[in-house]
Every structure is written in C-alpha cells, then in structure tokens.
Amino acid sequence: MRRIRFALFIFAVMLLFTQLSPIQAQDSFDRHAMLENLVDNVILTGYESFIEEAVALETLILQFSENPTEDNLLLVQDAWRETSNAWEEVSMYGIGLRLMSLHNQVDKRPVNVDLINRLLDNAETVDETFVSNIGSTQKGLPAIEYYIFDSEGDNQAVIDNLTANPQLMDFVLALSQYLPTTGEDILRLWSPDGDNFTEEFINADGAGGDAQASINILVNEMFAAFEMILDDRLGDPAGITGEGEANPALVDAPYSQHSLARIEHNLIGLQRLFTGGDGAGFDDYLDFLGAEAEEQMLSSLINDRFDAALESLNTIDEPLQFAIVNQPDAVQLLYDDIRMVYIPIRVDMASQLSILVTFSDADGDG
C-alpha cells in the first residue's frame, strides 16, 4: 500500500511539473499563436482590404450616377473587379451561421434578376434600407455585376439602361452602399469591441479531431473552397466534371468575364491561409511535425504547387468562358494543377492534423 501511495505521489509530482514547466512551449507547437496570427493578419486584414475596395466602389458608383460617362463606368467596372478580388481572398471565412449569412449578403450566386424586377416594381424608396430588407440573391457583388457589365461588352448599353431607369441607378447605388456596411458588420462580429468571435475562435485551439476546434474548421473551409473550384467554378463549366460537356455559361461571373481572376484570388487567399502570411501558419505547423512528402517537406510541396497553379492560371490570357472553348488544354492543365494542390492538403495534411471532415457525424473504430 505504501508503494502504491509513493508511486501516486511521484506521478502527481510529474503532472505538476508538466503544468509548470516552461520547456513544453518549445516541445510543442503553439497553436494558439498560429490561430491568433491567422485571425489578425490574414482574416481580419483581408476583410479590411475588402471594405477598402468596397468603399472605393461605392464612391465611384456615386460619381458615375452623377456623371454617367463611359470613362466613369470603366472606373466602376475596375473597382468592382478589385472588390471581388479582395472578397475572394476572404470568402472562405464564412464560419458558422451568422458569418455565413453575412457572407451570403456579399456574394450569393446566381443573381435572381426576375425577383429584383418584381421587388423594384413594388418599391417606393430604393435606398440602403431597401437593400437590407431583400434576399441575398438580389444583392451583393453578383447583383452589382449584372447591372454594370454587359455580356457583349457593350458599355453604352449599360449606361443607357441605367440612365433611362433612375430607380435602377438608385438601386445599384444602394447596393454599393450596402456592401461596405456588410463588411463592417462582419468585422464587428469578430472584433473585441463587438461580438468578440475572435476570442472564442482563438481559444478553441484544441487542434484537429474535434469538430468544434478552430483548426478543424479552417481546414474544412479550405476543403470546401477547393471542391467548389474543382466542381462548380472550373470543373463543370469546362466539362471536366459534371456530364463531360463544356458549358461556359456556368462560370461565376459571366457578365464581367472576371471568373478566372476570381478563382486566382481565391487561391491566393487559400495560400495565405496556409502560410499564415508572414507569421505562423499551417506550413509552420506541418514543419514542426516533420511532415514530409516525397523528397521534400510537405509544406514546401504544397507551397510549390500553389505557385505552379497560379502560374498556370496566368498563362491563360482570356476570360475563362472563352478559354474553355479556345484553349481547353491550358484549362485542363490549370485544373490538374489545382487538383494537385488540393490532394496533399486533403490527404496528407488532413492525416497529419487528424482533421475530421465535418459533413456528418458518425462513430469510427476501424
């Protein structure tokens, strides 16, 4: 009995030691710090960039509404492109119902033009309040895109349409005002001055395996973003997935012909999530775990493949909907490159971090 008590005593001392010991910080990866870096320097910074672009877009649309020249329209169109690029870099952070709902206010595709027309018919004042009360498929980037771009590239038609119909111009203006407002709402959810989702998020640092843990959530968002690209955004339009028939009309942004750039910026955002920007990210975590791929560290394999995919993307010099028809080989190459970024993330990284794929729950003991 004395020996048992002694053994328990030693065990208790060991436990106490592990609680107090400072050396454990070096022998374990600081997930908490990684999450902090990802939130502050990747996620929140990304949203701030989006808001900046959205504010610029709003300003230029106001300018256009007062002076509807083609030059001003071109400025608006450029600003829309910049705004959607900035959005693509953070679109994967719709975590949880509230953020998901706000994300849908920014970019829910496709836009429902019939419904917009019916709502406008019945509307008295069309302002930001009006926009806040309508559904997600009637607002945001896709709605703005529909009215400021013409699928044939006929800018005069756009100007004519908007000047002939002042209510429509008001609507577009209101849409552009609502965009940065939504951005601010998103930031407020995260901010310590607002709902402080940041604190809850950073503290759920229990690594993978737990569906609630933030690492598991972020990696699952990566998976979802990649699968969107490989299925809906690139695969189906190019006829690589789906029925095997190319259908260029399915691209994200057919009016602005900006689909490829949007995918590019989504990949850039995903790469930044992976690297953590200049700070700690998943690449550092994998390095700490000593995760290797064939002949190199897994982190550098994934990073190299991100770079290769972005390079492939840049060789396609026309809008995606045309490249599908004119340069199918280049599109196929791009597709394969993106797939080759996804596989080590979906397989190797998921395995190393014990990621639970969160589409449904079930037990496992196999």
């Binding site: 690594a207 490989l230 029925e243």
Partner: protein
C-alpha cells in the same frame, strides 16, 4: 467445464448487454443515423456474397429499429428471451450487412455476442420467463456456458493486441502520436500528448493491456484491479476517440469475468448480505458431441478470421485485404481521396468523378482508402450509365503519417475487374 457454477454472471451480462443495446439503438435514432446510413444513400457497399441484402423502404427501416428495441427489452427482462435474442441477432446483423461503410468492430462484436447468447440459458434466472415458467428456472449452469463468453472476449482483446505488434505501432508510436497531438486539451495529461515518448509509452501500454488483460481478469486476486484498468482504458479511449458506445460495450461484457464469489465479496464490502443459492444435487447433463463439434468449429472460425490476412501478400493495414472482422481496432490513420476518370469510348467524352456526387459523407470517409470499395463504386458508376465505360482511378492514401501514395494502379480499367476473394494485382503494394 461441466461443473456447475452459479448463473449470476450470465444474468448480469444479459441485463447489461440488453440495456446497452437499447441505449445504443436510441442514440442511433436520435442522431438521425437510420436516415443517414440506410435511407439517404443511393448506393450501398454490400459485402461479397451478401449483395442480396438491401435496405427496406424508410418505414421498413424504422420498423426494424423499433423491433430491435422491443427485442432488447425482452432481453433485459428475460421475457420471450429466445425469440428476443434471435430476433435481435438477425435484425442487427441484417442492418450491419447493408453497407460496408458502416462497419465497426464493435458492431461485429455485438453480433457475435448475441449469437452466443442465443444458445445460453440467460433467461433461466431473474427473468420474466423463469417466473412464468418455473420449470426452466436454474440457479446453476455448466461453467462452459460462461467460459464461452470469456473465451470470446479474450479472443477479441488478444487479437486486438496482436494486431498492434507491428513496426508502426511499436517503434514509431503511430497512429497514436498523430491522434494524441490532436487531443492536447485532454484533462490533466493532455499537454504530455505533444511528446513523442508519450505516444510510444501509450502504444506499448495499449498493446500490453490488450494482450494480457484476459489473463489478469482470470486471476481472482488481481481481478478487481484489472477491472479498474478496464474501466480506465475504455473511458480514456472513449474520451480521446470518436468510438461511440464501444468502450461501454467492453466495460459491460467484461463483467462476465466476475463470478458469484466475487459478487459475494462485493456485497460484503458494501455491507449488504447476499447468499447465493447452493448448487443443486442433480448435475446438468453433459455437452453432446454435436454441440461440442459446433463449439470447436465456432472458435476455430474466431481464431482463423483475424489471422486470414496472412494469406494475402503485403501489409493488411495498407491493402485492407482480410482487414475487417479481425478485431483490428483503432490501428491505422488512413486518409484518402479518389479521382475517377471516366471515358465513354462510344462518344469520346471524358470526365472526372470524385465520389461526393453520389455517396454520403460516411461513405466518403471509408471508400477512398479501401480498394474493395473503390472497385465496387467504379462498377456502380458503370452500371448507372447506359453505355459501357472505361473507368480508372487516381486514389491517393496517406497511411500513419507517411506521404500520400497511390493505392490502386491508375492505368487499370476497373470495369474489367471482377471482385474476388483472393489477392488482387491492381492494388499497389510498397513493402
């Protein structure tokens, strides 16, 4: 083996088993898994030779679960016991045979235990049946009846431990190292989980526990301490891993190792009196030769199944040949992703399928790293298309922290391959 022992352990097991099964069925229903696993899927990965096992329409599946729950009540109370336990065994096994994607070692264990219980007189004491029909009441049964269950449990533990005797587990401490560091929030000792030595220590301890616990449990003096370790081991694994009721099934069925003398000592410790009945003067009749042969065959099967993977070349942990029904529990970290390339030689069309288009989340968790399931799915893709197709697959699998590798020859047209029982050459083996 024929000496009479008090029936109490068997009755305890019957009641515990029944309660646990009832709870498990309720949990299954509450989590919506009847729908997720048996109603939602458009395709089921049936077992070889069991292709005829198909789910019933939704109402039928829920009826099956309702009947199962009624059966567990019959088991708990020992009411219409024989009917209840046979019904339970048949329906439970039916449900499990519908789809490989739902295979769990503990479901197989439940089928095996319920099969054994059909042939044991678990309702002869402390049961509704015995109350209504005093003729069947017995206070003593041959030791063999209880030994059979202990042997079964011992086999499960032993082979689970034996499977752990592999280089990954014992020398690298994987997959435990990978899983532990995803659980650093574990109370008290979680922070130790980032250390590799902890993973090795726990791997060795786990193997030692599995291999030796049946022996510790058989030794009366050690038994109480052994049972404490049983509880600690299973509660811990239950907290660390996503294994549902498995820990509780094991904790409950391990009670069979306690005999009536232990129960007396237990009662005495808590200061209430329990005087079990004495053995009757009449000896129970001995086991017939036929029953003896059946028993021997049964246990030969139980021993051969976990060993059958040696008939296949390569590492069963990678190839999955001979892997299931072998008590290989929580032994591997495997993640996979499949890209099927489909070609229609008639039209020249070519497209990719990942599996998510046709399969449920649970099926996507299991198919991508199991060659047999990948083959079945390829056949399904061919079957649902009016034309004959050529289907190849690029199947990357990461195993126990290694870099991902292809598990299937990407040049093989899977539609030309038939499922077979013996080893196949289209699985890529690396050792």
């Amino acid at each position: 083996m024929q000496s009479p022992v008090h029936i109490l352990p068997l009755v305890i097991l019957r009641i515990a088993f029944g309660l646990l099964m009832l709870g498990s069925l309720l949990r299954f229903l509450w989590r919506g898994w009847v729908y997720d696993f048996f109603i939602a899927p458009e395709f089921h990965f049936t077992y070889m030779g069991f292709g005829w096992v198909q789910p019933l329409p939704p109402a039928g599946m829920y009826a099956v679960f309702a009947i199962l729950m009624v059966a567990t009540i019959g088991i708990i109370f020992g009411a219409f016991y024989r009917l209840s336990i046979i019904t339970f065994f048949l329906l439970f096994s039916y449900v499990e045979l519908i789809d490989k994607a739902t295979y769990l070692n503990h479901y197989y264990f439940i089928s095996v235990v319920s099969l054994i219980l059909i042939f044991l007189p678990s309702n002869a004491y402390f049961s509704v049946d015995a109350k209504r029909n005093p003729d069947i009441r017995r206070t003593h049964i041959p030791l063999l009846a209880i030994f059979v269950l202990r042997l079964q449990l011992g086999i499960v533990y032993f082979f689970a431990g034996f499977a752990k005797l592999n280089p990954d587990w014992m020398f690298e401490g994987v997959p435990l190292a990978i899983w532990l560091r995803a659980n650093t929030g574990f109370p008290l000792i979680g922070q130790l989980f980032d250390y590799h030595w902890m993973a090795l220590l726990m791997s060795w301890a786990g193997a030692f526990y599995d291999l030796t616990i049946p022996f510790w449990l058989s030794w009366r003096r050690i038994r109480p301490f052994a049972y404490v370790t049983v509880i600690v081991f299973h509660v811990m694994t239950g907290m660390l891993f996503n294994i549902g009721i498995f820990p509780y099934v094991m904790i409950a069925t391990t009670l069979i190792f306690f005999d009536v003398q232990d129960c007396q000592a237990f009662a005495k410790f808590f200061r209430f009196s329990y005087s079990p009945e004495e053995a009757p003067a009449i000896q129970p009749k001995s086991l017939s030769t036929r029953a003896g042969i059946v028993l021997i065959l049964f246990f030969m099967y139980q021993i051969m199944m976990p060993l059958r993977h040696y008939l296949y070349p390569g590492n069963t942990n990678w190839t999955m040949e001979g892997y299931n029904f072998a008590w290989r529990v929580m032994l591997n970290e495997k993640t996979g992703y499949t890209t099927f390339t489909i070609q229609n030689p008639g039209t020249g069309q070519r497209w990719l399928v990942y599996g998510t288009e046709y399969l449920t989340a649970q099926q996507m968790r299991t198919m991508p790293h199991q060659p047999d399931m990948i083959l079945q799915f390829a056949h399904y893709l061919d079957d649902i298309h009016p034309d004959d197709l050529i289907i190849t697959v690029e199947a990357y699998v990461a195993h126990n922290g290694r870099a991902s590798r292809l598990i299937i020859d990407p040049t093989v047209d899977l539609t030309t391959i038939e499922r077979q029982l013996w080893s196949v050459d289209w699985i890529l083996r690396y050792d």
